[in-house]
């Protein structure tokens, strides 16, 4: 890359950040089948209930288990036209402790991150929530638990709208509503109380 090219790229990056000051971008990483897509949808729905414009869409390399998936979420005060995937995320969520090692190499302007992991990582809130997931769902499905942690940690979305989002998203299955609402509420209060 030429020198001038790099400078232009940097200034371009800055101008993007200035112009979309009301725009918040979030990326959720995980393996396909862990609930990456639904977590993204829940965040978008919750932001909508907070009275904002929001957008969420998935991207994966292929359908199937054990393949990497990501969800791009945008929250803004004005309608969102942008449709590229999120690259300069303000927040990141890792559903899978293994995938953080893969993504640690990515240097985005990372503000806050929620991770499902035992060890503490700089600039992250790391929670080992697999045990709780097994207790509630019978298997390690951590997406709603981690969203509860994320909401309490960042205060980007309110607990009420997140609960409302779960109700709306799982409207076809009452059992899922009850379990996921419990997961969100418990994770949120636990994070708030330290």
């Amino acid at each position: 890359m030429k020198k001038g090219d790099f400078a232009r790229k940097q200034s371009f990056k800055q101008s993007c950040n200035n112009e979309n000051s009301s725009l918040t971008e979030i990326k959720i990483h995980g393996k396909d089948g862990q609930g990456v897509v639904i977590a993204g949808q829940l965040l978008a729905i919750a932001a909508f209930h907070d009275g904002k414009y929001s957008q969420a869409f998935p991207s994966f390399y292929f359908e199937g288990k054990d393949l990497l998936a990501a969800s791009s979420i945008r929250i803004s005060d004005r309608p969102i036209n942008l449709r590229e995937q999120v690259y300069n995320q303000d927040y990141e969520i890792f559903l899978d402790p293994e995938s953080i090692q893969l993504y640690e190499t990515i240097k985005g302007p990372r503000k806050k991150t929620a991770v499902n992991n035992k060890r503490e990582i700089r600039n992250c809130t790391a929670k080992d929530i697999n045990k709780k997931a097994v207790e509630i769902f019978g298997r390690p499905i951590v997406n709603t638990l981690l969203l509860g942690v994320f909401a309490a940690y960042t205060k980007l979305i309110t607990l009420d709208s997140l609960l409302k989002a779960a109700e709306e998203r799982f409207r076809e299955n009452e059992e899922l509503i009850i379990k996921n609402k419990r997961a969100i509420r418990e994770a949120y209060t636990q994070e708030e109380n330290g």
């Binding site: 957008q55 991207s59 359908e63 449709r83 590229e84 076809e172």
Partner: protein, 396 residues
């Protein structure tokens, strides 16, 4: 078992009352379209699931269990049968809807020509997805664009809102012109995207869309044959008539757009100009990439670069006059940049070729670029490369 069924029906009824509110909501695009289709009251929906249109199908399956709607959902064993069932139903004179994607659309290919030749107003939602080989589920326009000669109306949409509004329009367009139509939505990027959308109400749709009714339809009481053999003399006349009708349909589409804008207060145009009056570089594109282009143009303008965009919604029939008019209004234009999400192998991008044809004889510099094949994300960086007239024709 009975309890489970009852519960399912209950949730359906609950969701039905929720669906009819006609308010601003957040919804998955394919689901929003399926719910709008429900408001249009098709009598037959023939479906065969193929990724990524499955979530739309799920909604259709849900509403099919509602007795009040009186809709026949035909679950076929292949995409070929799905379009065949749609042709049968449409020939009997009822409003018909079907969905397709990628290989499924290719399997339908033969029947697409039949539907257009028989002048059946079928509406189909196409979730644009790449074609194999190699296998891929990502988005590009190659599946529907390569069916451009089938004689169907093709509209490419940018957002959930446009998709929802266009599907209502398409039922009316198809039934007025007797030409089948495709609503082309970018797979995953749009169809799986949750975003804010204003859902129309049943009353609004009723006031816009009349009951389906065809003068010439198959019935048990009257002997009639459709799409039967034609000798060379009549075959060519029929095809000439078909071509004239699809070319003339542009006028009908524009009228219906106008009518829609009056009733729903949302205006969509077959060709939309975005900041082109003083633009030096003008981008022509279709589908969701238009949204990203809008953002980039705003940023480039802040930096003093005069960029603009022409969004093409209607690809078939290609509105040559309208696009020439739009381009002739760009007085300061130096370069016209065309972005394709498909390739015509052995030549260049299909939209680029259409533009070349529409502007034949003019001295405008046209640059064609290809991007976003097989789910490859088209970022602002890619588009900026195109605006800078990069020498690479493939924006990888």
């Amino acid at each position: 078992m009975a309890k489970k069924k009852q519960q399912k029906l209950r949730t359906n009824c609950k969701s039905e009352s929720k669906f009819n509110t006609g308010a601003r909501r957040i919804e998955e695009a394919s689901r929003a379209v399926a719910e709008t289709v429900k408001l249009c009251k098709p009598k037959v929906v023939s479906i065969y699931p193929i990724m990524p249109q499955t979530s739309g199908l799920r909604t259709i399956m849900e509403f099919s269990s509602l007795e009040s709607l009186n809709v026949e959902v035909v679950r076929t064993e292949s995409a070929y049968s799905a379009i065949s069932a749609a042709i049968g139903a449409s020939a009997a004179g009822v409003r018909t809807y079907t969905v397709a994607s990628s290989q499924g659309l290719k399997l339908m290919s033969e029947m697409l020509f039949v539907a257009a030749g028989m002048r059946l107003p079928i509406v189909m939602m196409v979730d644009n997805r790449a074609l194999p080989a190699p296998a891929n589920i990502g988005n590009d326009h190659s599946d529907s664009i390569s069916e451009r000669d089938a004689g169907w109306i093709q509209i490419y949409v940018e957002s959930s809102q446009e998709a929802v509004d266009r599907v209502i329009q398409l039922f009316k367009i198809s039934e007025q012109t007797l030409i089948p139509s495709m609503l082309c939505m970018d797979g995953f990027v749009l169809t799986q995207a949750y975003e804010n959308v204003e859902m129309p109400s049943q009353e609004q749709v009723n006031s816009f869309l009349p009951e389906a009714g065809m003068l010439c339809r198959l019935s048990s009481g009257k002997l009639l044959n459709k799409g039967f053999i034609a000798p060379p003399e009549s075959y060519m006349q029929i095809k000439k008539h078909q071509q004239e009708s699809i070319l003339n349909s542009v006028k009908t589409i524009k009228n219906i757009e106008e009518d829609f804008a009056n009733k729903f207060k949302r205006k969509w145009r077959i060709i939309e100009d975005y900041k082109t009056e003083d633009a030096e570089e003008v981008l022509v594109c279709m589908g969701t990439v238009c949204g990203t282009a809008r953002e980039l143009i705003n940023e480039l303008r802040q930096k003093g670069k005069k960029a603009g965009m022409i969004k093409v919604s209607l690809f078939r029939p290609f509105p040559k006059n309208e696009i020439s008019k739009s381009i002739s209004q760009c007085k300061k234009m130096k370069n016209l940049i065309v972005l394709d999400r498909a390739v015509s192998f052995g030549n260049s991008g299909p939209l680029y070729l259409e533009l070349k044809d529409a502007l034949f004889g003019s001295k405008i510099n046209i640059h064609g670029y290809i991007a976003g094949l097989g789910g490859r994300d088209i970022t602002k960086k890619h588009l900026e490369k195109a605006f800078n007239l990069s020498e690479e024709r493939w924006l990888i």
